[in-house]
């Protein structure tokens, strides 16, 4: 074996060790806080589920509002993602960049901006209040805050998923007699389906964890993140951790279900 080959193998080994070390380091950074949280709060959190009505109500409210926000984002965001992916959006590059803006805004500031735009003193807020959708101190406010901070994540991931589906499949379907909308529904939707579900999962998880924007709009009724802050302030760490731990444990269930669903609904790898 030549020296160069030996050196080459050595470099590979160092590179491989580096890759593993990097992966382990990141997993530790991400995993240790969660392990610590579950160890300190998991058991008592699950125990409290039976006795603590406020905790159950907060978890149920969080699940409901995050699901409504995610469904709304899918309903309104998928067409937008499609237009952006296919380059059919006027000023698409600009719109795409603007969609990232909500991700840049610190969340309490996002809450204040939502208040200015949709509070009862604004025209939009007055109109919403007329139809019973006041944003302050209501579920509407929670859903709105979740949409604002998390919908951009859905749209950008959905755009990527749609862009990976070759537009020529739609063209073929149309030459076979499908209308443009039907072609998208029958061809692109199932091919991008895995990606769309993945995008929805990320959005839902982000919505469940939101605190800063929600606490400005809707302190009561309390979602789980607000309840956990509330318990920390009022009662201390040992009252706050079970709330967060049980939220993580319960949120894991739909996340795992959706991940496996995503694997199951795969209709073959999208063509390049």
């Amino acid at each position: 074996m030549s020296d160069a080959a030996v050196r080459g193998r050595g470099t590979h080994r160092v590179a491989a060790a580096g890759v593993v070390a990097g992966a382990v380091l990141l997993l530790a950074l991400l995993g240790l806080p969660i392990v610590a949280l579950l160890l300190r709060g998991g058991v008592s959190g699950l125990g409290q589920l039976g006795s603590d009505r406020e905790l159950r109500a907060a978890l149920w409210l969080t699940a409901q509002t995050a699901t409504v926000a995610t469904l709304l984002a899918m309903l309104l965001g998928t067409p937008l993602a499609y237009l952006l992916a296919r380059g059919r959006m006027p000023a698409g590059a600009l719109v795409g960049a603007l969609l990232d803006l909500p991700l840049l805004i610190p969340h309490p500031v996002a809450g204040m901006a939502l208040l200015l735009a949709f509070g009862r003193a604004s025209p939009a807020g007055a109109a919403l209040a007329q139809i019973g959708l006041a944003v302050v101190g209501s579920r509407t406010g929670i859903v709105l805050a979740m949409l604002f901070v998390a919908a951009p994540l859905y749209v950008s991931a959905a755009r990527e998923a749609i862009a990976r589906v070759d537009e020529r499949y739609e063209s073929v379907a149309r030459t076979l007699g499908d209308s443009p909308v039907r072609a998208v529904w029958r061809v692109t939707r199932p091919l991008a389906g895995r990606g769309l579900v993945a995008a929805a999962v990320v959005m839902w998880a982000r919505a469940v964890s939101e605190f800063g924007a929600i606490v400005i709009l809707t302190y009561n009724p309390k979602v789980a993140s607000v309840l956990s802050y509330d318990r920390f302030t009022g009662e201390g760490l040992d009252a706050a951790l079970p709330v967060a731990a049980v939220l993580v444990i319960l949120a894991l269930v739909p996340l795992l279900v959706l991940r496996s669903l995503r694997a199951g609904t795969a209709l073959g790898e999208p063509a390049r």
């Binding site: 208040l115 302050v136 509330d230 302030t233 009022g234 009252a239």
Partner: protein, 313 residues
């Protein structure tokens, strides 16, 4: 390998610290936890302290109870802690975290509003409770379980009921704020008021002034602002139920407290800042920001550091 190179560069930049003034000159660093209602005045005092001494100052603001929890539960210890309620020291901090604290300022409850609040043209010291009871008016208050300003609002309502001889007034006023309009602390209420979501908030005078809000000054018999009326205020009590316990708060004059925790990382610098805050100059800065600094700060507790003992009058 270009990518790891870039990654290393980014990481080293992220952790590199600009040579800060403190490290370069050996100057003091002072980390101060400040009750939200004191944030602006203490910032001003810190800035002028930094200008005079070259100290590096850092401030963290929050609700008084939350700040106390950061110390007791999370083990994050500042050099100075300044809170809106001296009671929080007694409840959570003395003697565990600090052996003493100093009463340094007072405040009073007011009803704050803006030009577009409903009834803004009519409201005054004599009829405020009638305006706040109007069904078309939205009144915000802080959560009594989390913020001293929250239970002080309820105490104010009870004192007003006796003062105006209007049985049922306290519960009527309390019911004017549905849970949806309660917030964790006073600063969030100010945001809601300024956004036009609320017509009135019950809050500290210093916060109303700092935010340039209009406000109604209430009679001293009920506004919790007069240290000489302690026994009068104490006649009102309010029970605040939490999940695991119930606390009864009695009316007391609003007095701000400050201390240097025993485990403060820069305790000497903390003492120097506190001495500045209690000096005529520091008090002038507080007064310029609408905080009613006590002419005679009072030290409470044991083992008061020599640097501060001079301020005991």
């Amino acid at each position: 390998m270009r990518l790891p190179g870039i990654a290393c560069l980014v990481v080293s930049l992220a952790f590199a610290r600009p040579r800060d003034a403190a490290a370069a000159s050996g100057a003091d660093t002072v980390v101060v936890f400040t009750a939200a209602s004191l944030a602006v005045p203490i910032r001003a005092a810190l800035d002028s302290f930094a200008r005079r001494t070259g100290a590096v100052v850092q401030q963290e603001n929050g609700a008084s109870l939350e700040l106390a929890r950061r110390i007791t539960e999370l083990g994050r210890v500042p050099d100075v802690i300044a809170l809106a309620d001296q009671e929080v020291f007694a409840q959570l901090l003395v003697p565990r975290v600090a052996s003493w604290y100093v009463r340094f300022a007072r405040n009073r409850m007011v009803v704050a509003f803006t030009g577009r609040s409903k009834g803004a043209a009519q409201i005054g010291p004599a009829n405020w409770h009638r305006v706040l009871s109007r069904p078309d008016v939205c009144v915000g208050r802080s959560d009594p379980r989390l913020a001293p300003v929250g239970y002080r609002t309820l105490l104010l309502y009870r004192l007003a009921e006796g003062y105006y001889h209007l049985p049922g007034l306290a519960s009527r006023l309390e019911a004017q704020t549905p849970p949806a309009l309660i917030r964790a602390n006073a600063s969030e209420l100010v945001a809601l008021l300024q956004a036009g979501e609320l017509d009135y908030i019950v809050d500290y005078e210093s916060l109303a002034r700092a935010n340039r809000l209009r406000f109604v000054t209430l009679p001293p018999q009920i506004d919790l602002g007069d240290p000489a009326r302690a026994s009068q205020y104490a006649r009102a009590t309010v029970r605040v139920a939490r999940r695991t316990d119930t606390t009864t708060y009695a009316g007391a004059p609003i007095v701000y407290g400050a201390s240097v925790p025993r485990a403060a990382p820069h305790a000497a610098a903390g003492h120097r800042f506190l001495r500045y805050l209690l000096s005529p100059e520091g008090q002038a800065v507080l007064r310029a920001h609408a905080v009613d600094a006590l002419r005679m700060p009072e030290l409470v507790g044991d083992s008061v550091p020599p640097a501060l003992r001079a301020t005991r009058r």
